[in-house]
C-alpha cells in the first residue's frame, strides 16, 4: 500500500491517516484479474448489485409496512395503492428476491463447473455457502411478511421442520413461534430478523470479496495465472464488462417488474392469512423447490428413525454437503473444460436439480414421489460416489500452458436465465376445475405491453358492481375517492359515497354513531362481520372482491368463466348439496352464489346492449382495476425505463468493445 501519491493534498492527507485510496486502487482498480473471464463471471457482481437494490427497496418498504398480524396484509396493499410509487418499490423487492436467487444459482453452478471451490479457494467457497444459507433464511422470512395464505402456511410448514428433531424439536418450534401457532409474535420477530439478515449478508459478502482478492479469481481454464501477461487490471476492463452486464440484467429484471410482477408469486398470497384453512396445495417459493422435493422424498421410516426426521436431515444435508465438496472432488484439474466425464456429470447434476425442482412444485402423486426419491438419491450420489470416483479414474485433457494461449467458447448467457425463470413459476395451481376457462371475445383490453383499461367498459363494470355485486360483496381496499380513475366526477363520487352509512365516533357523549360515507371512506362489505354474512348465506362468506382477480390463478378469465358458468342443464352426475348451485368452473362445482349475470341484468347508462358476456367482461374489467389500480402507471413507466436501459446498455456495450479491443 505504500508509495501512493496523489496530486490532491486532501487525498494525501486522508491517505496518510487512513489508507482508503491505496486500498481502493489496490483492490478495485489494479487488482490483477485473469484476462480470459467469460460472461459467467459477471454473476457475482450482478448479485452484489441486486443485494444493494434489495436493501434500499426494503428499507423504504419498511417505512410503510406494519408488522402486525391484523394490519400487515392491508399495510402491504396500502403500499400498493396509496404510497407514492409503493407498487414500484414492492414489485422491485419481490421480483428482486427471485432475481437474486437466479443470479446466485448461476454463480454457484459456474463455481461447480469451473472447479472454483478447489484449493486454494475452499474458504471462499465456504463463505459463499454461508451467504446462500443466509439468503434462504432472509427470503423465507420476507415471504412471511405480507401475511397472505402462502406466507402463513409457508411459515407454519417451515418452522414445523424443526419439530422433527427428537426431544427438543417441539420446544424449538414453540420458541420460534413465541406462542402455540404462527401468530403475531412470530410475524414481529420475523420482521426484525428479515431486517437484520441482509446486513449480515453484506458482512459475509465483504469477507467473500476479501477472500477472493487474496487467492485471485479462478478462470474458465482453471489454471493459475503465470504472470503479468495473463492478467489485466480490474479497472477499466472488468468494471466496464460488469456495467454492461448490469445493463442487460436490469432489462430482464425490469421486464418482470413492469409486465409480469406476479410471475414468481402465488395467487393464494393475495388472500389474507387464515389460520383455520390451509390452501389445497401449498408450495414454498420457487428457489427452495429442489430441497422441498428432497424433504418430501422420505416416506418410510428407517429402523427407528422416523421418515419426517430423515427428510429434514436430508434437506439440510443437501446444502451442508457442499462444505465437503473440496475434498469429495480431489481431481487436480479445476475446469470442466478439461474433464470430459465430469462435464457430462455436471450437466446431469443440473438436470437432476431441475427435476427435483419440478417435483417440489407439483402436488404429490405416487409417480412424482418415486421420481423425487430417485432424484434425491442421485443428488447425494453425485457428491458421495460420482465425484470421488471421477477424481481417481477420469482421464483429463492436457491443460494449456498459459491463459494467453487458447480460445474459450462462451455459451449464450440468456439460456440459463430463461430456464430458471420459466422452470418453476406459477406453481401452486390448486387444480381447480378440469374445464378450460372461457375467454371474452376480443380479449381484455389491459393485457399486452401497452394495454390500458377500456374506460367505457370500466365505467359499465362499476355500474354492474354497484347495482349487483355490491349487495353481497365488499371492496374494502378501494375508497370511493378512487372511483375518479373509473371516470366519475367528484360530485358523483360524493353522492355515491353518501348512499352508504359508516360507523364513526365516539361522539362527545362517548357513543358510536352512523354517518353518511365520505369519498375517503372505503367500500366495506354490506355485512357488519363475517359471522353475519355466513349466517345469511348458508355458511359461505361472500369474499371481498378487492383482489379477486389477483387471488385466483389466471384470475380475470377465472372470474369471467365463473360468472358465466351456470349451465342451463346440469350434468347427470352433478351432486349438489341443498342450498348450493352448480358452477362448471368452481372448485368442487358447488358454489354458494346463485347465477347473477343474466341478459339485461343491468340497464347500461351508455346504451350498450347488456348481454351476459358483455356484463361479465365489464365487471371483470372493473374488478381487475380494483385489484391492480397501478397497472396503467406501471406499464407506461415500464416503457420509459426500458427505452432508457436500452440506450444505456448499448452505450456500455460500445464502450466495452472500445476498451477491450486491444486485449482480444
Amino acid at each position: 500500500m505504500s508509495g501512493f501519491k496523489s496530486n490532491n493534498t486532501v487525498v494525501n492527507w486522508v491517505e496518510d491517516r487512513l489508507p482508503v485510496f491505496s486500498m481502493l486502487r489496490h483492490s478495485a482498480i489494479e487488482y490483477p484479474t485473469p484476462k480470459n473471464l467469460n460472461y459467467w463471471w459477471n454473476f457475482g457482481s450482478l448479485a452484489a448489485v441486486t443485494l444493494v437494490i434489495m436493501i434500499v427497496t426494503g428499507l423504504f418498504l419498511a417505512m410503510s409496512y406494519t408488522p402486525h398480524s391484523a394490519l400487515a396484509f392491508d399495510s402491504v396493499e396500502r403500499i400498493m395503492r396509496d404510497v407514492n410509487y409503493g407498487w414500484l418499490l414492492r414489485y422491485l423487492h419481490s421480483n428482486g428476491a427471485s432475481m437474486f436467487f437466479i443470479l446466485v444459482y448461476i454463480h454457484i453452478f459456474r463455481g461447480l463447473y469451473y472447479g472454483s471451490y478447489k484449493a486454494p479457494r475452499e474458504l471462499l467457497w465456504f463463505i459463499g455457502i454461508a451467504i446462500y444459507l443466509a439468503m434462504m433464511a432472509t427470503g423465507f422470512l420476507g415471504y412471511v411478511l405480507p401475511w397472505g395464505q402462502m406466507s402463513f402456511w409457508g411459515a407454519t410448514v417451515i418452522t414445523n421442520l424443526f419439530s422433527a428433531f427428537p426431544l427438543i424439536g417441539d420446544s424449538i418450534v414453540t420458541l420460534l413461534w413465541g406462542g402455540f401457532s404462527v401468530d403475531n409474535p412470530t410475524l414481529n420477530r420475523f420482521f426484525a430478523l428479515h431486517f437484520l439478515l441482509p446486513f449480515v449478508i453484506v458482512g459475509l459478502v465483504a469477507l467473500h470479496v476479501w477472500a477472493l482478492h487474496s487467492v485471485k479469481s479462478n478462470n474458465p481454464l482453471g489454471i493459475d495465472m503465470n504472470g503479468p501477461q495473463d492478467a489485466i487490471p480490474f479497472h477499466p476492463y472488468y468494471t466496464i464488462k460488469d456495467l454492461f452486464g448490469i445493463g442487460v440484467f436490469l432489462m430482464v429484471y425490469m421486464a418482470f417488474v413492469f409486465w409480469a410482477p406476479n410471475f414468481f408469486g402465488e395467487a393464494d398470497n393475495y388472500i389474507p392469512a387464515n389460520p383455520m384453512l390451509t390452501p389445497p396445495h401449498i408450495v414454498p417459493e420457487w428457489y427452495y423447490l429442489p430441497f422441498y422435493a428432497i424433504l418430501r422424498a422420505f416416506t418410510v421410516d428407517l429402523w427407528f428413525i422416523p421418515a419426517k426426521l430423515l427428510g429434514v436431515v436430508a434437506m439440510f444435508g443437501a446444502i451442508l454437503i457442499l462444505f465437503a465438496l473440496p475434498w469429495l472432488d480431489s481431481s487436480k484439474v479445476r475446469s470442466a473444460t478439461f474433464r470430459p466425464l465430469y462435464r457430462q456429470f455436471f450437466w446431469l447434476f443440473v438436470l437432476n436439480a431441475f427435476v427435483l425442482g419440478y417435483c417440489g412444485a407439483k402436488p404429490t402423486t405416487d409417480l412424482l414421489v418415486t421420481v423425487s426419491q430417485v432424484a434425491t438419491a442421485y443428488y447425494f450420489a453425485h457428491f458421495l460416489i460420482v465425484l470421488p470416483w471421477l477424481s481417481r479414474k477420469e482421464k483429463t485433457l492436457a491443460l494449456p500452458a498459459s491463459i494467453s494461449a487458447p480460445v474459450v467458447k462462451a455459451i449464450a448467457i440468456g439460456a440459463m436465465l430463461l430456464i430458471g425463470a420459466t422452470g418453476f413459476s406459477g406453481t401452486a395451481q390448486a387444480n381447480t376445475a378440469t374445464h378450460e376457462l372461457l375467454k371474452p371475445e376480443g380479449g381484455f383490453s389491459w393485457t399486452g405491453v401497452f394495454g390500458r383499461y377500456d374506460r367505457a367498459s370500466l365505467k359499465r363494470g362499476w355500474q354492474v358492481y354497484h347495482e349487483v355485486c355490491a349487495n353481497c360483496h365488499g371492496l374494502k381496499l378501494v375508497a370511493f375517492r378512487n372511483l375518479a380513475a373509473v371516470g366519475l366526477t367528484p360530485e358523483e363520487i360524493k353522492a355515491i359515497a353518501a348512499e352508504k352509512e359508516v360507523q364513526d365516533g365516539p361522539n362527545d357523549e362517548g357513543a358510536m354513531f352512523q354517518r353518511p360515507a365520505r369519498p375517503s371512506d372505503r367500500m366495506l362489505s354490506p355485512y357488519a362481520n363475517d359471522k353475519v354474512a355466513a349466517s345469511i348465506h348458508g355458511g359461505a362468506v361472500p369474499p371481498d372482491l378487492s383482489l379477486i382477480t389477483k387471488a385466483r390463478v389466471n384470475g380475470p378469465n377465472y372470474v369471467y368463466s365463473l360468472l358465466l358458468g351456470y349451465p342451463d342443464v346440469l350434468p347427470e352426475d352433478a351432486a349438489i348439496p341443498e342450498g348450493k348451485m352448480y358452477n362448471t368452473y368452481f372448485p368442487g362445482y358447488a358454489i354458494g352464489m346463485p347465477q347473477q349475470v343474466f341478459e339485461d341484468a343491468v340497464s347500461y347508462a351508455d346504451g350498450t346492449k347488456a348481454t351476459k358476456e358483455q356484463i361479465a367482461k365489464d365487471v371483470v374489467t372493473f374488478l381487475n382495476w380494483a385489484a391492480e389500480p397501478e397497472l396503467e402507471a406501471r406499464k407506461s413507466l415500464g416503457v420509459k425505463v426500458m427505452v432508457f436501459l436500452a440506450l444505456l446498455t448499448a452505450l456500455l456495450f460500445a464502450l466495452k468493445r472500445q476498451i477491450w479491443k486491444d486485449v482480444h
Binding site: 375517503s520 464502450l655 479491443k661
Partner: protein, 184 residues
C-alpha cells in the same frame, strides 16, 4: 457519423476520441438515470394518497358556550376552536398592530368574530400551548401559554411574548351551517 470521422482522421486518434465520447455519453446517461431513479424512493416518503384524502374534519359547535374551547384533531394535529366572549373579541380587535411581532388584524384571522379557529401548535418548536381548559395558564394576554419555552399568545392567537416567531396558524375552514364547521 463514426464512418465520416474515421475517414478524416488517423485510426489511433479516432479510437481515442470515440472512446472518450462513449465514456462521456455512457457516464452522463448513467448518472442522469440513477438520479431519476432516486425520485420514487424519496417521493415514497411524502404523504400517501389515503393520508392526503383525510384532510377534512367536521366540528359541531352547538355545545360550545362563550368562553369555552375545544380541541379537535385535524390531519393528526390539534386544532383549537374557541368561542370568544365579547371582552375577548374586543381586546383582540383593540390591539395596535405596530406592537405585534407578526402583525395581523383580528378581522383577517376569523370568519365569524365569535369563533377563533387556530392550529394548536406553538410556532416556536411545535409544542401544544396551554389555555384550552379554564384552569390552564393563559398568559398575560388571556390567550395561550406555551409551557415549553414560555411563548404567550393573545385572544386572537397572535404571538405577544416569548421566542415564537409567528402567530398560531389559521387552517383553511368553512362554516357548513350555523353550528358546524369543516376544517381543511
Amino acid at each position: 457519423m463514426a464512418d465520416t470521422a474515421k475517414n478524416a482522421q488517423p485510426s489511433a486518434a479516432d479510437g481515442q476520441t470515440r472512446r472518450d465520447f462513449l465514456l462521456q455519453a455512457a457516464s452522463t446517461v448513467g448518472v442522469v438515470g440513477t438520479g431519476i431513479a432516486l425520485w420514487p424512493f424519496v417521493h415514497s416518503m411524502n404523504p400517501a394518497a389515503d393520508t392526503l384524502a383525510l384532510s377534512t374534519t367536521d366540528v359541531d359547535l352547538s355545545a360550545i358556550k362563550p368562553g369555552q374551547a375545544i380541541t379537535v384533531v385535524w390531519r393528526g394535529s390539534p386544532v383549537f376552536v374557541r368561542s370568544r366572549t365579547a371582552e375577548e373579541i374586543a381586546s383582540a380587535q383593540a390591539v395596535n398592530l405596530s406592537e405585534l411581532r407578526d402583525p395581523q388584524a383580528d378581522a383577517i384571522r376569523v370568519k365569524n368574530p365569535q369563533w377563533l379557529i387556530v392550529v394548536g401548535i406553538c410556532t416556536h418548536l411545535g409544542c401544544v400551548p396551554l389555555g384550552q381548559k379554564p384552569t390552564d395558564p393563559r398568559g398575560e394576554w388571556g390567550g395561550w401559554f406555551c409551557p415549553c419555552h414560555g411563548s404567550q399568545y393573545d385572544t386572537s392567537g397572535r404571538i405577544r411574548k416569548g421566542p415564537a416567531p409567528k402567530n398560531l396558524a389559521v387552517p383553511a375552514y368553512q362554516f357548513t351551517s350555523d353550528t358546524t364547521v369543516r376544517i381543511g
